[in-house]
């Protein structure tokens, strides 16, 4: 069923009784051309683009919970392409371009809101760094603007400009960045894939990877064995555990990241704003709640909940940046398990095992990557070679000495 203004009108007069489920609930077949492990944003997008762009429709997505129960439904929804390194920036810009056409493509409202992201800086060194980043973006054809303090004061009068230790002296703006409704992204890709014939199999955990003569032939699941030609792992925070089923040891460590949302307010924060004196970021959802977060808790974790000390730290950062926040009540907080990689950048690659493909290492930046990750992973699965914007995102870049380390933090996952 195609969604349109007319369909809404028709259903309104028909008592809204005619809506059909957005996707089927099929039983698994015995064999697929491609099985994707993980029904998060990346797994669903991969299935969609496999079917739509590359004509491979005998595909299953296997999800241990319900679709979108992982990080795709837990993130702070920031979408941007203001990266610095040549291995990353073309990939994220490709993603942003896909975002810009996604709603028409999927016939689904993902509520993309290109409200702009402003990254604040607080000292000369940081300003130089952001100028460099802006220049690096422009070299890849992506617009960036440097805002001075006076301009910022007019745009964001509620900021704490004259903080004794962290005065705000300017910001880097990417106007095309913004937010999207995270659940809708999962649902939109799920519906799109389903309509092209992909089987979405929920509440089915992959418990083993079967290999014959070293070649992957299928997966053991809680619903029995399912065979495949190619197996594509997109398990985000659980990538190491799924990879281990095939004997892979990956450059990943799992960590918890928390997010917070306040009571609904009238429109007050029009952009996504990030604080340079910490790692705080905030935006206002269309419902009015302020959505914000900061860095990971720092200890390895598979629990989807964090520590109160981190919550306190996040609140302190927020109130330092926007003093008025101290009067707002936080409604909810939650956590998600991040696949932190050794250089802070993702991996989209084949593995040393035949028929086994890997998509992981998204750290806390994988939501914005959802369309490009799916597209490039599908490209790799269908054509056997990397999409040109994803060529640097290789699994062997660590041993070959080509890490993509935006933060310059070295091989310590909890610092990225």
């Amino acid at each position: 069923m195609r969604y349109s203004a007319l369909s809404i009108l028709k259903q309104a007069f028909a008592g809204n009784l005619g809506w059909k489920p957005a996707w089927r609930e099929p039983q698994p077949k015995s064999h697929y051309d491609v099985i994707i492990v993980g029904g998060g944003g990346h797994g669903l997008a991969t299935a969609y683009y496999l079917a739509k762009e590359f004509g491979i429709r005998n595909v299953a997505v296997i999800e241990k919970g319900y679709l979108g129960s992982g990080n795709v439904g837990r993130n702070t929804t920031i979408v941007r392409s203001n990266y610095m390194l040549p291995g990353n920036e073309p990939f994220y810009e490709f993603s942003l371009k896909l975002w810009e056409g996604l709603e028409q493509d999927l016939n689904y409202n993902v509520m993309l809101s290109q409200r702009g992201i402003i990254s604040l800086f607080h000292n000369d060194g940081q300003r130089d760094h952001y100028i460099r980043r802006g220049n690096a973006m422009m070299m890849e054809g992506v617009a960036a603007e440097l805002l001075d303090r006076e301009t910022l004061k007019k745009m964001l009068p509620f900021l704490n400009f004259d903080h004794g230790r962290f005065p705000i002296i300017g910001g880097l703006l990417q106007r095309r960045a913004g937010t999207a409704r995270h659940d809708a992204v999962a649902w939109g890709f799920a519906r799109g894939a389903d309509r092209l014939g992909v089987d979405l199999i929920q509440n089915c955990e992959v418990t083993g990877i079967r290999r014959e003569n070293g070649v992957v032939t299928g997966v053991e699941t809680t619903k029995g064995f399912i065979g495949c030609n190619k197996l594509a792992l997109a398990a985000a925070g659980n990538s190491s555990r799924v990879g281990e089923m095939a004997g892979l040891k990956l450059p990943l460590e799992s960590h918890v990241l928390q997010a917070f949302v306040t009571e609904g307010l009238k429109p007050c924060i029009d952009h996504v704003i990030t604080y340079g004196a910490g790692h705080f970021y905030i935006s206002q959802s269309d419902k009015g709640g302020l959505v914000f977060g900061a860095e990971i808790d720092g200890y390895s974790s598979y629990a989807q909940r964090g520590n109160l000390a981190t919550a306190e730290h996040v609140m302190e950062e927020g109130v330092t940046m926007i003093p008025g926040l101290s009067r707002v009540r936080v409604l909810r907080s939650w956590g998600g398990v991040m696949d932190m990689s050794m250089d802070g950048s993702p991996i989209i690659d084949r593995t040393s095992i035949e028929n086994l493909y890997l998509n992981c290492g998204w750290c806390y930046g994988g939501f914005k990557a959802t369309p490009a990750s799916g597209f490039c992973f599908a490209h790799l699965l269908a054509k056997g070679e990397s999409h040109h914007v994803a060529r640097a995102l290789r699994l062997d870049r660590f041993e070959r000495g080509f890490p993509i380390d935006e933060a310059g933090a070295g091989t310590q996952p909890n610092l990225h």
Binding site: P251, A303, N307, A309
Partner: protein, 91 residues
Amino acid sequence: MASLISCPHCGTRPKEEFLIRGDATPVRPAPMAAEEAWHDYAHLRANPRGRIREHWQHVAGCRRWLVVERDNFTHEVFGVTDAAKAGEGAR
């Protein structure tokens, strides 16, 4: 994660006094070891769910390196040992 960590030297202290380095399992190879051994040590992690050993440093206390043995799913802490005693000093 538990909010309190029992340092073997300083007693029970808030978690925020500690810096977390990461997995304590990898052991530094000999200087001239093969490149694969260094790659494995520097980059690859088993990253299991469950009982793990992690390097923490008591930066706001005795500044000793410690090995915290804990569960990374339930967040239960089983024990804290000085890294030298735990045989991890050569990392």
